[in-house]
Amino acid sequence: MKEIRAIVRLEKVRDILDALEDSGHPGVSVERIEGHGRQTGLVEQFRGREFKVDLLPKARLNIVCADEEVDKLVNTIVDNAKTGAIGDGKIFVYPVENALRIRTGEVGQEAI
């Protein structure tokens, strides 16, 4: 079992979720984070004084899936998250040891 964590632009979440729905509709958790990588932030101002904000808002999608699903899902995400401009985000893949569905008590693959 693996977990895919995709950090993407907030405005792309809708499209990605729609696309995921077509590729098997996996369970997903979405979080609001802030971050920076190559993208270096933007300038805001308040009562005439400018300042640099270096953390930008992003969304993170977490999907736990079977090992063999990873590639397909990652591709789906990449296709829908990409604009080509700096700040498109990253995807990380992590090992997961077990899963459990609280409602039924199912564990492992069954529970994803």
Partner: protein
């Protein structure tokens, strides 16, 4: 560029004003003579000013309703627009607009004096009239910001604010309130609009409609299948507070339009205003309840405002049961209007067109139907205003109202279309798609509305 033009225009205006001011041979700047001539003026001034203050406070109401009904990423933008339309509009109205409404009539079409409140205008009566007309003009101006919300460039809005207060609003207001041609139509008592369902609200609403059409819908308002999608506002409490403020301010708008405390009918106007708002709000709530099974606050708020708009023209010529009936129709109109515009793929983020445009027109017609013949035109004496349901003069009055309604739609929508088309050609009216997604707050103002809160922007 724009900055420089704005600044120079601003300075030029001033110079003109100072020069003009130099000639000043002020008839009664202290008011002592005016008071002597009519000691009753003191209470009239108190009444008109206090009502005018309430109308000015409606700016806060519009600001809250529009911001609350839009997304958090555009709050700074909406607040800036709501402040600056009053600011720029005041200056424009002072320089030119007021003179067009109330200056010496020129062929029934336009007024042509009192610019910059200069010369003879340094007079308590003129200033009083100016203050009253100003807060009305600013109301018309601010209505539009709702219809064009979340996608109009700020500098285009600045120019728009000046133009509506310089020209679009004053010309039409002159026709109705400045002894222009509409007030002299040979039907009934001429076209009548007690407190401005047409002059203020329909003008604002139809200029807004033009703006919404020229701009096109917000990104995401219509799905790929063309179906309308809801874009919920970020703060229901702000929108509700704004509606309460507007309702409160409307007690200045309508009863204050007697422009005199010596017409005790002000109590009737206050009651009618309340009853129409109440019945419209309840109707709107029940209609949506019938459709979705839920008690929709957003539509109930829109409904209350729709009732207030609709009763604005007839409020002084009807009794309470008519106000309730007018409100029921207003409730149907606002709900129907919202769905109708969506069906036409027009995106009006806060319902401004349905509330102010459609119900403004309804208010004009309602005068021609429900006016009950007990009250004159800003007077307690005959000739009395009569609508279709009351006596023979009704048909004529209805005709006058119909003509006025057609004219206001044509004028406001026409001017609005030209204005926004020209602005689009010159400045571009719509922000970049990317900027729209990010929200106008950061792009145009650099200041997010709620920098410390976690917000899901999309």
């Amino acid at each position: 560029m724009l900055r420089r033009i704005l600044f120079l225009g601003f300075l030029a205006m001033l110079l003109l004003a100072m020069v003009a001011g130099a000639w000043a041979a002020a008839p009664d700047p202290t008011g002592a003579a005016t008071l002597k001539a009519d000691p009753g003026k003191a209470v009239d001034y108190v009444w008109v000013l206090v009502c005018g203050f309430l109308v000015m406070f409606m700016q806060a109401g519009f600001a809250c309703v529009e911001s609350g009904f839009c997304r958090a990423k555009n709050v700074t933008n909406l607040m800036t627009k709501n402040l600056l339309d009053f600011v720029v509009g005041s200056l424009a109205f002072w320089a030119v607009g007021f003179g067009i409404i109330m200056g010496t009539d020129w062929g029934g079409l336009i007024g042509s004096s009192k610019f910059f409140l200069a010369g003879d205008s340094y007079d308590v009566e003129t200033y009083l009239s100016f203050f009253w007309q100003l807060v009305f003009a600013a109301t018309a101006a601010t209505i539009v910001s709702g219809a064009v919300a979340e996608r109009l460039k700020f500098k285009a809005y600045l120019v728009y604010s000046a133009v509506i207060c310089l020209f679009i609003y004053p010309v039409y207001a002159h026709w109705v309130w400045g002894s222009g041609w509409l007030s002299k139509l040979p039907f009934g008592l001429g076209h009548l609009d007690f407190a401005g369902s047409g002059v203020v609200h329909a003008v604002g609403g139809f200029v807004g409609l033009a703006g919404a059409i020229v701009l096109g819908p917000r990104y995401g308002k219509f799905g790929k299948d063309g179906k309308p999608r809801a874009i919920p506002g970020h703060s229901i409490s702000l929108a509700a507070l704004g509606t309460f403020i507007l309702w409160f301010g409307w007690f200045g708008f309508n009863p204050g339009s007697t422009f005199s405390a010596h017409q005790l009918r002000i109590s009737v106007i206050a009651v009618n205003t309340t009853m129409c708002a109440a019945s419209a709000s309840l109707t709107a709530l029940l209609l949506v309840l019938g459709k979705t099974g839920k008690y929709d606050l957003g539509m109930a708020l829109n409904g209350a405002l729709a009732g207030l708009v609709a009763v604005t023209a007839p409020c002084a010529w009807i009794s309470s049961w008519a106000a309730v009936v007018i409100g029921i129709v207003a409730g149907f109109l606002v709900v129907g209007g919202v769905y109708f515009l969506e069906a036409l793929k027009i995106d009006d983020p806060v319902g401004a067109v349905s509330v102010h445009g459609f119900n403004g027109v309804w208010g004009l017609l309602a005068v021609g139907i429900f006016a009950d013949g007990t009250y004159g035109n800003y007077a307690t004496k005959a000739p009395f205003v009569e609508g279709l349901l009351f006596g023979g003069a009704g048909a004529g009055q209805f005709m006058a109202q119909l003509i006025g309604a057609v004219v206001v739609i044509a004028w406001a929508f026409g001017c609005g279309l030209i204005l926004f088309k020209v602005l689009d050609a010159v400045l571009g009216v719509r922000v970049d798609p990317h900027e729209e997604l990010q929200g106008l707050d950061i792009v145009e103002h650099g200041t997010p509305g709620y920098p410390e809160f976690y917000i899901t922007r999309s």
